[in-house]
Subunit: 255 residues, 2 copies
């Protein structure tokens, strides 16, 4: 009754065939973002199927973030670059039943953030430097309220996210942004149980200031080194935090 048979669909679904066809077409013909796909009627004729089936295929492509669909004249499906949010959402789903813990996220961050800092140093613009400066300044003053404390932590993460976005290597950029997004979610999720950690905030703020200086001076190896120290420090404080939390709520070290 409950034995796990291998699921080998005898008949591949029509709509999936259409999805594959469109993907091949995009890959082979070097279709660019913004180019239009054939409209529903043409697709119906080309694949000899009904409107509903075409719609299902388009829906599938839309869910994957590959196209966007607009109504009206000159509407229809157009090819899109997959937006970061889509990719992020889908990777989150993958991790849903293996929720990364704080220490796991920090472990990965320690590996990638130094390289992100190094790559970003060569590419940030003057405007970026101003934005980074504004984010640092927001963390300088001592937080008065609970909300302010959370906001400062988020500003810290935004500092890292901006660097990740300026990073040349697309995969490194994605991973960096994703990790900081995960921390942001974790922060918001269990913020009510979060102790103050004044030292942590001060250390972060200090590192960010030094990092900003190194980046402004286009000092690549300096930025890499600083970021590594920063991550080691953050990892340490997170370890401390997890210890405190598990004292309060035994067995609640995860998620």
């Amino acid at each position: 009754m409950n034995n796990k048979n291998l699921r080998i669909p005898k008949r591949i679904k029509r709509s999936d065939q259409i999805v594959e066809s469109v993907k091949r077409w995009v890959a082979l013909n070097k279709v660019q973002p913004g180019d239009r796909l054939p409209n529903e009627r043409e697709l119906m004729e080309q694949f000899e199927c009904s409107k509903g089936t075409v719609r299902e295929a388009l829906k599938s492509l839309e869910v994957q973030g590959l196209i966007s669909v607009r109504t009206g004249p000159n509407g229809g499906a157009i090819l899109e670059r997959v937006p970061y949010d889509k990719a992020s959402e889908l990777l989150r789903n993958f991790l849903h039943f293996d929720q990364p813990t704080g220490p796991e996220i920090y472990a990965l961050r320690t590996l990638v953030e130094p390289e992100i800092a190094a790559l970003a140093t060569a590419r940030v613009t003057e405007a970026d430097l101003e934005d980074l400066d504004a984010l640092v300044k927001r963390c300088e003053v001592a937080p008065k309220t609970f909300e302010e404390r959370i906001e400062q932590r988020i500003a810290e993460l935004d500092f890292h996210i901006l660097l990740a976005q300026r990073c040349d290597n697309p995969m490194l950029a994605f991973i960096g942004r994703f990790l900081n997004d995960m921390l942001r979610d974790l922060l918001i999720f269990k913020k009510s149980a979060l102790p103050e950690q004044l030292e942590f905030s001060a250390a972060n703020c200090n590192y960010h200031k030094q990092l900003l200086e190194a980046i402004r001076a286009r000092n690549v190896s300096g930025a890499r080194k600083l970021m590594h120290e920063h991550m080691k420090s953050a990892e340490h404080f997170n370890h401390e935090l997890e210890g405190q939390l598990s004292q309060h709520f035994l067995g609640a070290t995860n998620s």
Copy 2:
């Protein structure tokens, strides 16, 4: 005419609402993989919509890899862990218009593989060790044919993929596997233009042998160190390769 207006859909689609509802339900009620969703009829009643709309929502969830759907009695939609292949495919789509180059992949690999080796060392089973040994042995003999050469390279990557799968940290495991998959694709895609690189193969095989010994001895720091050297070496050879390729096909250093 062609100005990029922000797309702010005034009316959120009915099927997307259903998707969000189901996701919330899964997150809040701690639904486990294997649990059944309500069938189409019940969903129609619950959301007061037609069969087509329910099907569209289910399709969306299926594309995201969150459910699988079967026909027949006891059929219907059941919650699934998102399989690696789905997540991998979707991340590939995200990177489609920013195809990572060889050097970019190697740069990331150098960062993560040493840690993967360290984490995996503590967790590989005896059976895994045998599999790893078999993969190493496949690369020991000198390749006679062109196909054999490619197969050996793939066996090398499988070595890394197995380690990644045994890795404790789910994100690190995913990234490691994904990077090696990308290299595999790159290899197959431009294999016809691939020069022999005897030194490279020999170096890889040697490193893998030493790694296997370190892992068997559960020597964590040794495995980490060896893997780092291995990656540096591979990065170097890849750099050499890219140089050769760009001499042959000027301007074809990418993809």
